[in-house]
Symmetry: C2
Subunit: 199 residues, 2 copies
């Protein structure tokens, strides 16, 4: 006999980040007591999303279409490309700033010890894209961590090789912090006062 | 055109208790980036659980069978019944104590202003059960709040009407707690109900 469904549900909920045994219990009981409709909706959307969402062919962001809405939009500035480590960073910039260019999502940062090199971050494709000549500025918005800075320097070199201006978000983003958790005002200011990468 | 699936997923995750916009985003991205298998499993278990889990005919706890495992167990003491407000309380007692009797889950507490009376808590069924004569003690483990105490008094009367002994969990200074940090009400109660030191 398998475990009772309630225990299976509590165990399954622990796949969510930051959710331990106690929180999973609370979630399971709340869904059963008060949120059966919302819970069923979540189950449906989750199944469909995990089946259908892949990566955008151009920017590597998550999307259920071949090309994401931002890349497909004619109203975005086709000369600006902003490189971020992850989709949450893209989202944070999109929500906090007035940026209307395009993005490139690295889905990580250079980390040789973890086997994450230029290939894993899709930098071949990025290099080819910069070579096409439409992009004039590469805004490098990797996190201000050691690995994020190393990645930024690598990206700046890549840009210069293709005669594209690399720029970096201005100081204001706290050192060692993650873009995702920076308040909107700081992020917006840092984005607006970005400077050209020093050689 | 409906919202992108990713946004639908983030919105759907907010049905979980304590999950706001930021947390829901983090959960969605983590599932897509690293936990697709676990996420699919969660979607399946959640759908089945919400479809199949109802209330135990005897104790009103959540279960996918007509009678829950505890009520169906021949090894539990059939003379002891412990009344709790919610399934999490039942779980806490089960995990913390050596109690081997049965439970009755009120799924709430008396709250006339919210329209929650004896009927809503299943007290007709509880009264009938106490009348059958097998239960000798009703352990009342409602929370020590105003409404929980009112419910406890009501339950105690119900028990006495059927010649069942009502008992209540001891209140006092928590083990390992410092007097200095115990709230005044608890401390006053503990002082007033002090007992002689065992030799
Ligand atoms: Zn895209
Ligand atoms: Zn039961």
């Amino acid at each position: 006999m398998s475990a009772p469904l309630l225990e299976q549900l509590i165990e399954a909920l622990r796949v969510l980040p930051g959710v331990g045994q106690k929180t999973a219990q609370r979630m399971a009981y709340q869904l059963l007591e008060r949120e059966r409709q919302g819970g069923k909706h979540l189950a449906e959307v989750l199944a469909v999303a995990l089946d259908s969402i892949g990566h955008c062919r151009h920017c590597r962001d998550f999307t259920e279409t071949e090309v994401c809405a931002i890349c497909a939009s004619a109203s975005r500035d086709q000369h600006l490309l902003c490189a971020v480590e992850s989709p949450v960073d893209r989202l944070a910039i999109e929500q906090a700033t007035g940026y209307r260019g395009l993005y490139f999502i690295l889905q990580g940062r250079l980390s040789p010890l973890d086997g994450i090199g230029p290939r894993e971050l899709g930098l071949d494709a990025l290099s080819e894209r910069l070579a096409q000549g439409e992009i004039t500025e590469l805004i490098i918005a990797t996190n201000p961590t050691v690995e994020g800075e190393a990645t930024a320097h690598y990206l700046a070199q890549l840009a210069r090789q293709q005669s594209v201006h690399p720029s970096r978000l201005a100081h204001g983003v706290p050192l060692g912090g993650e873009l995702e958790y920076v308040d909107r005002g700081t992020l917006s200011h840092a984005f607006g006062t970005r400077s050209e990468m020093p050689k």
